[in-house]
């Protein structure tokens, strides 16, 4: 259950960005969660709600988008979705795979006033 630490880090980033934009109200935040990351979205949502309740940010909506795990085979050059966490090229069975997406844990957009 490390979602509490993640929620704290997320709030730190949000508050810093709000200061930069002179914003006082947070309506929503959109975050990207890579499929390979060990985050449980429901837990993160719960922790975010707990940590914002009773503060200026109460009521802000946390939107989450799960980013699929994709890779590029360094042997044959094909790009594909990595299924069942198996880092093997479905085209040539190569195992030298560069991960293209699926490891994200980032905030991408905020709606503020």
């Amino acid at each position: 259950m490390h979602e509490m630490s993640i929620a704290q880090s997320l709030l730190d980033v949000i508050k810093e960005e709000m200061r930069k934009h002179n914003a006082t109200v947070l309506k929503s935040a959109l975050i990207h969660i890579g499929q390979l990351s060990a985050i449980v979205p429901e837990s993160l949502s719960f922790c975010f709600e707990v940590m914002t309740s009773g503060t200026d940010l109460e009521g802000a909506k946390l939107n989450m988008e799960i980013i699929p795990l994709t890779g590029n085979c360094r042997k044959c050059g094909q790009t594909f979705e990595i299924k069942n966490y198996a880092f093997e090229c479905p085209f040539c069975d190569g195992t030298d795979i560069e991960t293209l997406s699926g490891q994200e844990l980032s905030i991408v957009e905020m709606e503020v006033d």
Partner: protein, 217 residues
């Protein structure tokens, strides 16, 4: 008003981990982050490794646990500097907690620093602490389905020790399947089959570790 941000949520931790790493590099100190579920044999592996390599390298250990200083005491009994971190509930160590232990060590007198993380197969893999690489242990009593169920840690680790192979006659576990499943998640994973109880297989681990030390210095 919509604001586009695109910022890594763990950027603050990553930055501290990077600063830690710079300090380790400057001191020519090899650091690995040792992870597993509770009871897989992290401290036992360190005790054996200290005994086997004490004449060849100077080691220090950071012990992470939710509570108690039992692990640091076990390590200190071996004559190795050990600092206990009690996370007080947190399920993992982060860069900041590691940095707080620096004043307890004389890095100039060390070749290897091991960070023994909190026993947990999920969360520690998400937080860098400044290590050169991660090492994980899976014991045969935990079952062969773990790489598929907890892929991140297997994906992030450089080496995997399959521990407690002395118990194989008594459990339904195929080491071959653990190998297959782990290599699917991480084709570059270096795998050792060991028993910290009988010491079977540990020589290969010691040799590999010595190779990593040589590569860093």
């Amino acid at each position: 008003m919509k604001v586009s941000v695109v910022k890594n949520i763990l950027a603050a931790n990553d930055r501290i981990a990077q600063e830690n790493r710079a300090i380790f590099d400057e001191k020519n100190l090899l650091v690995f982050n040792l992870m597993s579920s509770p009871g897989a044999g992290k401290t036992s592996l360190l005790e054996k490794t200290i005994d086997a390599l004490k004449d060849q390298l100077k080691m220090g250990v950071i012990e992470g646990d939710i509570q108690s200083s039992q692990d640091a005491e076990r390590i200190a009994q071996k004559g190795v500097p050990a600092v206990q971190i009690n996370t007080g509930g947190a399920c993992h160590l982060d860069g900041n907690m590691i940095r707080d232990t620096f004043r307890e060590f004389d890095f100039d007198a060390l070749d290897l620093l091991v960070v023994e993380n909190v026993g947990n197969l999920v969360c520690p893999a998400e937080f860098k602490v400044g290590e050169d690489f991660k090492v994980m242990i899976l014991s045969v009593t935990e079952g062969e389905d773990k790489p598929a169920k907890y892929p991140l840690m297997f994906h992030e680790s450089k080496a995997l020790l399959i521990n407690k192979i002395d118990l194989l006659p008594y459990v339904d576990c195929s080491v071959e399947r653990i190998r297959e499943e782990s290599l699917k998640v991480n084709p570059d994973l270096v795998i050792f089959e060991v028993s910290c109880k009988t010491e079977e297989g540990l020589d290969a681990w010691y040799d590999w570790l010595k190779g990593e030390l040589k590569a860093k210095s």
